[in-house]
Symmetry: C2
Subunit: 127 residues, 2 copies
DNA sequence: TTAACTGCAAATCTTTTGCACAATC
DNA sequence: GATTGTGCAAAAGATTTGCAGTTAA
């Protein structure tokens, strides 16, 4: 794979953010320094970056995919009140204990998404 | 909510199948007994049935949503070889042990999707 | 009778793709 | 110079929605 200015910008943008942006949000932000950047290119480069394992895709039903600069496997919380995505870091051995149940299948990857209230919203909802 | 013939048909169709059909597949099947059934109605009724907890939505990135007549929480395997979805039944206490890690958030629901080879494909891929 | 539900078609939203041009190696 | 990547616009795919007519209570 050959170097590409756009792909590098997109990678840095995703890695520098913790808010799990969509392709559209990434494109809008980057147009400040790269006005000609097209949404098609952003989608193409994001797909490439996911394929080579530099970033991760976070899918929430009914919404545009979001992207996460944290390359290692972890989990996500979709806050049903403030609609933000928060990364969760459940210890790998706990996840492994769960996947060990899958005896006869061959696990390649997995995704755990929790729906509920993030710590802030949970705290503010208490009397 | 008032009774609806279409919604009842759709519920029975989803409950009677184990292949996690898409809205389109459900619509096509049901047109045999309800020729005028429209895809819009199928989507509307599926959303309603998910909301009231009678069925579950299964989302795989980049694909049309699928629906599962098994109302209770469980997990899914997306076979990367034969592209079928298989339900997994990991014991609740194992899942709970994992969710117990989420101390400060309030869990309402969760989805665990495993990507890999189903038992059939895993078996046939061995020498 | 009236409020909810449906069929139909058009609209919306997300993502991909074809193509001519530009950038990298 | 050959090939990969990009911008642009159009296309494709999934899902929602407006509206007029139908149906359940």
């Amino acid at each position: 794979m050959r170097y590409s200015h756009q792909r590098e910008l997109i990678l840095r943008e995703v890695q520098s953010r913790t808010d799990h942006p969509t392709a559209e949000q990434i494109c809008t932000s980057l147009r400040a320094e790269c006005p000609r950047l097209s949404l098609g290119t952003v989608y193409r480069d994001l797909n490439t970056l996911v394929e080579i394992g530099k970033i991760r895709r976070v899918s929430i039903p009914g919404q545009a995919d979001r992207f996460d600069g944290e390359a290692q496997a972890h989990q996500h919380l979709w806050c049903t009140r403030c609609h933000r995505i928060e990364s969760l870091y459940i210890p790998q051995e706990k996840v492994q204990a769960l996947l060990d149940e899958c005896q006869d299948i061959r696990v390649q990857d997995w995704a755990l998404t929790v729906f509920g209230l993030c710590s802030q919203c949970a705290a503010s909802s208490q009397e």
